[in-house]
Amino acid sequence: MAYNRAPVLFERLRVAQLRVAAIALVMMMSVTVLDVFLRYVFNRPIRGSYDFVEFMLVIFVFNGISTAFLQRRNIVIDLIDTFTGRRFIAALIRITDLMSLATLVLFAYAMLTPAWQAWSYGDRKLDLGLPTSVLWAAALVGIAGAILCAVGALFTPAANRTEHDTADETAE
């Protein structure tokens, strides 16, 4: 498959981000389960579990999106594939690779100002006391990785993914 031919460095970055997101997901699940258990059994909930889940979710989301960009797993409507040639589809894929990159850069650029404001105002999460700038920093680091993965997609062949792969990625 095309995405297995991604240059090694981009692939390593993708795997690293995937693992970070996976750990965040497991942490999210574990802390919530523990919180429920302690609350109902010992009447001692974990203080700040809500904030912790939000923090883990930020890490999860912004690191979890990288695979979708390097492996071109974002949902597309591929109706046009049935009545156009391979070259045309390859050109469209390449254009959408560039659009993905541009849109991610736009998001990252737009996020800089609120991130800076969060740092300079010194806002903190209510229960955990964690500075919100830490969450913003985690988001920016994650999206920087996603941008690199989107760059990586430009170095992989502009081939279509199989129906099976496309089907697996969607969740409806």
Binding site: M29, L57, M111, D168
Partner: protein
């Protein structure tokens, strides 16, 4: 150019981009960004584009998405569905079409722990299709049952599409999850009715010979206990107000892992694969929700729903007529859009209109999800059909198309029932939450 006309152009541009293979999230983001920039200026739009991804990525309410996805992935990896199918085929044996009905029952039960229709169809294809073929079932009929059964997954809670719908339409998630249950069960019963009629009219499609004793049937009732336990604890916990959706999803995911490990159906590799798949699927969903948020801001600013509402009133259309037009629109959209995209593009436009006509937004959400189900199984681009074909490449797509056609009657009958008896969707939310 008025803002409403700009909104109409924005929607048109969105469809053109989608047709040209632009990923759904980019199309939503770009239309939302450019539209907002034209209406409000570049600075406020940049501020919006900076905060929306973070707000979505840090939204506690959306943490339920990856956790429910994980629960479904684990259930899929642990082959719990195999036991479910085995139990259903014993309990529902002894009559023509029994195995087809068992497939539909197993799909509905699997839907009680999985939130993804495609995962359901893929899993049931692996589990049920070989058995259906071994029993001499017609390929088209067998795959039709699996595709139809898989589609009930997005109505029966937990449903990922309902979670995202709740986020985008600002509706209560527990209410939506409660609203989906009865229509999901009714739809399963309707599918079973269709399967029995097909088996009666075309006996060679379903040459059932299996018949188990009463003792064996009672014994088989024990097998699906894990599914029932997971469903009762998670979804029951939400309904009873014991857990928040995130807590229920966490307990469900952890419980599915625990049951899989205890039952020795789940190894470390299976768990890791389930977690990685959950990350990838959720990542795809989250970027779409980010784009949909920008798009929604744009639609709100354009007052496009008000324009459409005025047009409907100018033509003296009744609420029912407007709903019929919307439903026909969904049937057309379902021919070329996938489910999540269909919901995220249309709901910001349609919901304000139907609310003005006095319809309940929770009821409308269920109608929309049923229409998404129709889109998942109707040719030419029903995703469930492609999933089945990908898992069973020796079954011709023409057979699958032929097999699903009779089942399309069921969701349309459900729509009619929902119009006649809105309480089908609204009774449970009212019962649980007042």
């Amino acid at each position: 150019m008025s803002s409403s006309v700009l909104g109409a152009f924005g929607v048109l541009a969105l469809f053109v981009m989608l047709f040209l293979r632009v990923p759904v999230w980019i199309a939503l983001t770009l239309v939302g960004f450019v539209g907002n920039a034209i209406l409000s200026g570049i600075r406020p739009t940049l501020a919006l584009a900076g905060t929306v991804p973070f707000d979505v990525g840090a939204a506690y309410t959306l943490s339920v998405v990856p956790l429910f996805v994980l629960m479904g992935e684990v259930a899929s990896e642990s082959r719990l569905s195999g036991e479910l199918f085995k139990a259903a085929r014993v309990i529902l044996s002894g009559f023509r079409g029994g195995l087809a009905v068992a497939t539909l029952a197993a799909s509905a039960l699997f839907g009680a722990v999985s939130g993804s229709s495609l995962a359901n169809a893929a899993t049931m294809t692996r589990m049920a299709l070989p058995e259906l073929r071994k029993a001499g079932y017609d390929d088209g009929f067998a795959t039709g049952c699996i595709a139809a059964g898989g589609s009930t997954d997005i109505l029966i809670p937990p449903s990922i599409i309902l979670v995202i719908y709740a986020a985008i339409a600002e509706l209560s998630l527990p209410r939506l999850l409660a609203a989906g249950l009865l229509p999901g069960l009714v739809l399963t019963a309707l599918y079973m009715g269709v399967a029995l009629i097909v088996a009666y009219l075309k006996p060679h499609y379903a040459p059932d010979t299996e018949n188990y004793s009463l003792r064996e049937r009672i014994a088989a009732l024990r097998d699906p206990w894990q599914f029932l336990a997971l469903f009762v604890v998670t979804i029951g916990g939400i309904y009873a107000g014991v857990f928040s959706p995130t807590e229920a999803a966490s307990i469900g995911a952890a419980g599915a892992i625990l049951l899989g490990v205890i039952g020795r159906r789940l190894g470390t590799k299976d768990i890791l694969r389930a977690i990685e798949n959950s990350v990838i699927v959720s990542g795809v969903l989250f970027v779409i929700v980010m784009g949909a948020n920008l798009f929604s801001f744009f639609i709100v600013q354009t007052h496009l729903p008000e324009l459409l509402l005025d047009a409907a009133r100018a033509f003296n259309l009744t609420g029912l007529a407007v709903m019929m037009i919307i439903i026909l629109g969904y049937i057309v959209l379902g021919c070329f859009l996938e489910g999540i995209g269909m919901v995220l593009i249309t709901v910001p436009v349609f919901q304000p209109i139907i609310v003005q006509f006095g319809y309940d937004p929770i009821w409308f959400a269920i109608i929309v999800v049923v229409m998404v189900e129709v889109g998942l199984i109707h040719p030419p681009v029903g995703m469930n059909l492609f999933v089945i074909q990908a898992q069973a490449p020796d079954v011709k797509i023409a057979s699958i198309y032929r097999g699903i056609l009779p089942f399309l009657v069921a969701p349309l009958m459900l729509i009619v029932l929902l119009f006649w008896f809105p309480s089908l969707a609204l009774w449970l939310p009212k019962l649980f939450y007042g």
